[in-house]
């Protein structure tokens, strides 16, 4: 078996993996990026719509353009292994590393002083939301349909119903309309849409696609292919009561959420955070296993690529400190309080400014973000509008953190 010794192994060549690799290579480390697809850019390649890069490149780009910009920044010295899958992480007499399989070069044992996990996320599917009925073909996750249409060039169906009003579902409603399919409706279990208002306007209203809030698909009919779906208001979910209706369609797209891709992480025994489904990390974004870091969608699901890239840069800084043997100052834990699903990272370092990303649990106008040490508010900001699908960012200054060092910080939205 071949052995490859390097400073840092980056797993995944999406926006996060590429960004951290670029930064680490710029700092002079020998870096390898391993990617299981034969192209670089990850999920960005299938997101052909625009809406990327407003913060990171100060320009509104499509997904592939954003990926191309990042790829253009890759230094020559960086070693890229596309078409190579990390099978498992290891820690043995050869040190920390991973086993990598590739059709071209067989099995390679990477041995590195640090690892950056950047494997992204995957979609929840039908099994995760329990829709009863038959099992015909024509049921796809929205992201898979997006890949089929935008990369492979296949159109999965002509009469479409979409479950879930998150941004991916909305973007696919427009995409399917533009390729000539009829999108009959979008069904959303919550009483409010979960995607951005701009996407409701330009992806649904522009095409007169109805959005059924507080509704669920209660049954899928069809033997070989989907023939129709039954839709009911949430309160009468159990029996097919008044208000229920049937829509004839040949395709059902599920846009019901994303989950960080952490098989490798779990198998390696890294401690997980149940709120994010990603690993637990300290203020440098290091997991419970010394030398193993995480950033981007594998850590928690990001709605903006710009934030994923910012986090990846921060992760590279953490790796650099670790490799130089600089220990972070440990301030204390950061926990989620009222109306906050999670906050990442779950610890702070009073030695510098710290940035946190958090996910609200409520929909509210004119709310306020408050970070407290005991009863004292050490940071606060007004938020014109919060909703669970929009991540909130908070940057706490070194001085504010110094003043409360040692205490637990609680983040809440009120």
């Amino acid at each position: 078996m071949k052995i490859r010794r390097i400073d840092v192994l980056v797993i995944g060549a999406g926006a996060s993996g590429l960004t951290s690799a670029i930064k680490l290579a710029e700092m002079g480390y020998e870096v390898s990026v391993v990617e299981r697809e034969n192209t670089l850019g990850g999920i960005l390649n299938q997101c052909i719509h625009s809406g990327f890069g407003l913060h990171y490149f100060n320009e509104e780009l499509t997904g592939p353009e954003f990926a191309d910009r990042l790829i253009g920044l890759l230094p020559d010295a960086l070693y890229l292994a596309p078409n190579a899958t990390v099978d498992r992480l290891i820690d043995d007499e050869n040190g920390l590393g991973a086993l990598v399989f590739s059709p071209e070069s067989g099995i390679t044992r990477y041995s590195s002083r640090a690892i950056v996990l950047a494997m992204g996320c995957r979609e929840r599917n039908r099994g995760n939301i329990h829709i009863p009925g038959s099992r015909p073909s024509g049921v796809y996750t929205a992201g898979l349909a997006q890949r089929l249409v935008n990369i492979e060039g296949y159109i999965p169906g002509k009469d479409v119903v979409i479950v879930g009003s998150g941004d991916i579902g909305l973007i696919m409603a427009r995409r399917m309309s533009w390729v000539g399919a009829k999108v009959h409706c979008v069904v959303e279990i919550q009483p409010y849409p979960s995607g951005l208002t701009r996407n409701i306007v330009q992806c649904l209203n522009d095409f007169n696609i109805p959005l059924h809030l507080s509704h669920v698909v209660t049954k899928i009919n069809g033997n070989d292919r989907v023939q129709s779906v039954e839709i009911s208001p949430v309160s009468r979910e159990k029996e097919r009561g008044p208000g229920s209706f049937t829509v004839e369609c040949d395709t059902l797209l599920l846009s019901v959420g994303l989950v960080p891709e952490n098989e490798l992480t779990r198998k390696f025994g890294i401690a997980m955070n149940h709120e994010t489904s990603g690993p637990k990390v300290d203020s440098r974004l290091m997991t419970s296993k010394p030398g193993v870091f995480a950033c981007g969608n594998v850590l928690h699901v990001h709605d903006l690529v710009d934030y994923a890239c910012e986090e990846a840069e921060r992760c590279a800084k953490g790796v650099d400190e670790f490799l130089r043997g600089v220990a972070p100052e440990t301030g204390g834990p950061v926990v989620s309080g009222a109306n906050v699903r999670y906050v990442v990272p779950g610890a702070y370092n009073p030695g510098s400014d710290n940035r946190f990303y958090l996910r609200p649990m409520i929909v509210k106008n004119k709310s306020r973000l408050s970070v407290r040490a005991g009863e004292v508010e050490i940071y606060g900001k007004n938020l014109p509008h919060v909703q669970p699908s929009e991540m909130v960012e908070a940057t706490l200054s070194k001085d504010a953190l110094k003043a409360c060092s040692g205490q637990t910080l609680e983040v809440r939205i009120e």
């Binding site: 719509h49 780009l61 353009e65 701009r198 409701i200």
Partner: protein, 124 residues
Amino acid sequence: MKRNMTCIACPLGCSLTVEYSEGLDDVTVTGNRCAKGEVYAREEILAPKRTVTATVSLTAGELSRLPVRTDRALEKELIADLLTELYRIEVSAPVAPGDRVLTDFRGTGVNVIATRRCGSRSDE
């Protein structure tokens, strides 16, 4: 007359209120957090426009579809025609982001450009 709308020019999605006279010569926009919002609201009343993204057929490349976009927003009622035209186009690799696949569509000044890089199959 008065119309409420959501600005779609950036993810902030400001709620705009547009007041305008019958002949559309007097339009006032409120609720926008930046100048783009005002432009958007005026256009939305006069002639709504959208940026269009799609894919076109690609030959001789490592990929079979090439993603493309309009380089500026196009009048909404011309979108269907543009898409019909795009589905007829065939581009041959190599191609780079920014390369034009369609120039000055129907005299609107709107061009369609490639958004992904793709080498030719023989480049490998």
